[in-house]
């Protein structure tokens, strides 16, 4: 029977044909917990009578949201999680490696066909590796820590086919913002987004991760890019695994089919205070900004920093604009360092911080005052997300962020 990638993944997990709409108790291949949502998961695990976790090797633990500890309670959480890791024999990346989703991917914890959960809504990022990955709450994670399995309602899929070559300085972030604007913040609730087409195949892992990352902004349970040569090269250099074929059957049943051609795509901007309130850049060009954040699990990779640096050229950032650059991981930071990008950013006036979530969620640092305006390469612009509820956050690509930081106002990167 014809099946989607997602149905195939669950069918192979369960050893029988599973179709969208079914509820299955599926074993999970990996479970990610971090400093914010982890402590609650551990408490729930204990309340459920948990003594030993199902398999310490399949648990990925790290700290990224409040690192280095920005408060005493944050430091206490870290201490609590470290003790749990030691007790259970879980490898803890602690605060050394960077943002959870980047680390899971680059350390090879996600591979095609796997079912992975994480106590973070952007766990859907690992769909870029061809995995079915979804964010869960801490109580569900307590259950997973105990049993290594969880209830899933197998989602229907929306097929998104993308063709054409991106114009200069337009890329994956502009594409996914455009899609988010079309589908809307709840347009894919309970469903999976499957990204296919020549444009997706031409994207490297960084761009695919940017797209899969934002599936949750449409309410989707998962975003998935079926594996191809690029995926397998990425995954097999990080872990011992044989490549296999995994794609939706041509006659599989999809909830919806959407087509995009990016050849004429303009830079996109999500305007305050909704991710799906997306406009073309000329509608907001000229808006004065106080802060620019380049980083996050959406756009904090080497490719993103290189894109920003290319637009920056030999310019300086505008006076009066605070530019905060946070590479998504130590690995990405080192690549940027070796390529001279970090030096360029610092020279141009940016604050470059160690890999972490940073200002993305308004917790650790870089908060906004009432009335301030920020342009961010991250994935959410909800009211209060990056500080004051009276601040405004615009979301855009690294190229748009760099151009805007140079001019002190939202600026079309194609025009600089």
């Amino acid at each position: 029977m014809a099946a989607t990638v997602v149905e195939k993944i669950f069918s192979s997990k369960c050893g029988r044909d599973v179709r969208a709409g079914e509820v299955v108790m599926a074993p999970v291949d990996g479970a990610m917990i971090h400093d914010i949502t982890g402590p609650l998961a551990v408490r729930v695990f204990r309340e459920m009578g948990g003594e030993r976790v199902f398999d310490p090797e399949r648990i990925i633990m790290l700290f990224d949201h409040q690192v280095p500890a920005d408060s005493i309670p944050a430091a206490e959480n870290h201490v609590f999680m470290r003790a749990f890791a030691r007790e259970q024999g879980i490898h803890n990346y602690d605060l050394r490696e960077g943002v959870c989703h980047q680390v899971v991917m680059e350390k090879g914890h996600a591979a095609p066909g796997e079912v992975i959960v994480g106590t973070d809504s952007h766990t859907c990022t690992y769909g870029a590796a061809g995995a079915f990955a979804t964010g869960i709450g801490s109580t569900d994670m307590g259950f997973v820590l105990k049993f290594g399995a969880l209830y899933f309602r197998v989602p229907e899929s929306i097929l998104v086919e993308v063709n054409g070559s991106f114009p200069r300085r337009v890329g994956a972030k502009d594409l996914i913002l455009a899609i988010t604007g079309d589908i809307g913040a709840d347009g894919a609730t309970y469903q999976a987004l499957e990204f296919v087409g020549e444009t997706m195949r031409s994207l490297g892992m960084a761009g695919r991760m940017t797209c899969a990352n934002m599936a949750i902004e449409m309410g989707a349970k998962a975003g998935i890019v079926p594996p191809d040569g690029t995926t397998w090269r990425y995954v097999t250099t990080r872990r011992d695994i044989e490549a296999f074929d995994l794609a939706s059957d041509p006659d599989a049943t999809f909830a919806e089919f959407r087509q995009y051609d990016v050849a004429d795509l303009a830079p996109q901007v999500a305007v305050p205070h909704n991710v799906d309130h997306v406009v073309e850049i000329d509608e907001v060009a000229g808006t004065a900004i106080d802060q620019v954040f380049i980083g996050s699990c959406t756009n904090g990779r080497f490719e993103d920093l290189a894109e920003a640096a290319e637009v920056l050229g030999s310019d300086s950032f505008a006076d009066g604009v605070r530019v905060i650059v946070v590479p998504a991981s130590r690995e990405e930071y080192m690549k940027a360092l070796r390529a001279g990008l970090i030096e360029r950013f610092v020279e141009a006036g940016a604050l470059v911080e160690a890999p972490c979530c940073g200002p993305c969620m308004g917790g650790a640092f870089g908060l906004l005052a009432p009335g301030e305006v920020s342009l961010s390469t991250s994935n959410r612009n909800f009211r209060g997300r990056q500080g004051s509820a009276e601040a405004s956050v615009y979301l855009a690509s690294p190229a748009t962020a760099a151009a805007s930081a140079v001019y002190g106002e939202i600026t079309d990167p194609r025009e600089v």
Binding site: F10, E76, I136, G142
Partner: protein, 165 residues
């Protein structure tokens, strides 16, 4: 029960902002619930009040602090046209009952409302509005008193492969 009315796309950052996420105690979280979005809420909400909203309630971050903050504030029921997926599960798991009702436009802020889950309706302004049933497998968790109670009673689960874990 007093209805506190909200619009569409109420996100979990609005329910509890990121800077309070080191707090886990529902009562402490409740002091900051809707802080910056609707400051009067935390001060004036009463035990048993109901949050009523439009579509996509609880979108965004997977933080379970959101349903916990609402529970801490005395809210036991949230009624919305639709819920974001992770919030819906988190609510069920933590004992906050999410009820989907397509006609929440009929309910206004400050309305007195009556909820009858057994018969599947709510009443506001003299109008009876239907609510959608909670899916079977989640109802079992609700009946157990939340996922913790449900899981406590088990040593193993049977997975879809037929094996025990």
């Amino acid at each position: 029960m007093r209805a506190w009315k909200f619009g569409d796309d109420v996100d979990t950052d609005a329910i509890i902002p990121g800077r309070f996420l080191t707090i886990y105690d529902p009562e402490e979280l409740a002091k900051h619930v809707f802080e910056g979005t609707r400051d009067a809420f935390a001060r004036r909400v009463k035990e048993g009040d109901v949050v009523v909203a439009g579509s996509n309630f609880g979108c965004g971050s997977s933080r379970e602090h959101a349903p916990l903050a609402l529970r801490g504030a005395g809210i036991r029921i949230v009624i919305a046209k639709s819920f974001a997926r992770i919030f819906y599960r988190n609510a069920i798991n933590t004992g906050l009952l999410p009820l989907a009702c397509p006609e929440t436009d009929e309910i206004h802020d400050g309305d007195e409302i009556t909820v009858n889950t057994a018969e599947g309706w709510i009443e506001a302004n003299g109008k009876r509005l239907p609510i959608e049933p909670v899916p079977d497998f989640l109802q079992r968790i609700v009946d157990a008193g939340g996922l913790v109670e449900y899981a406590k009673a088990m040593d193993t689960v049977e997975t879809c492969t037929g094996s025990q874990r």
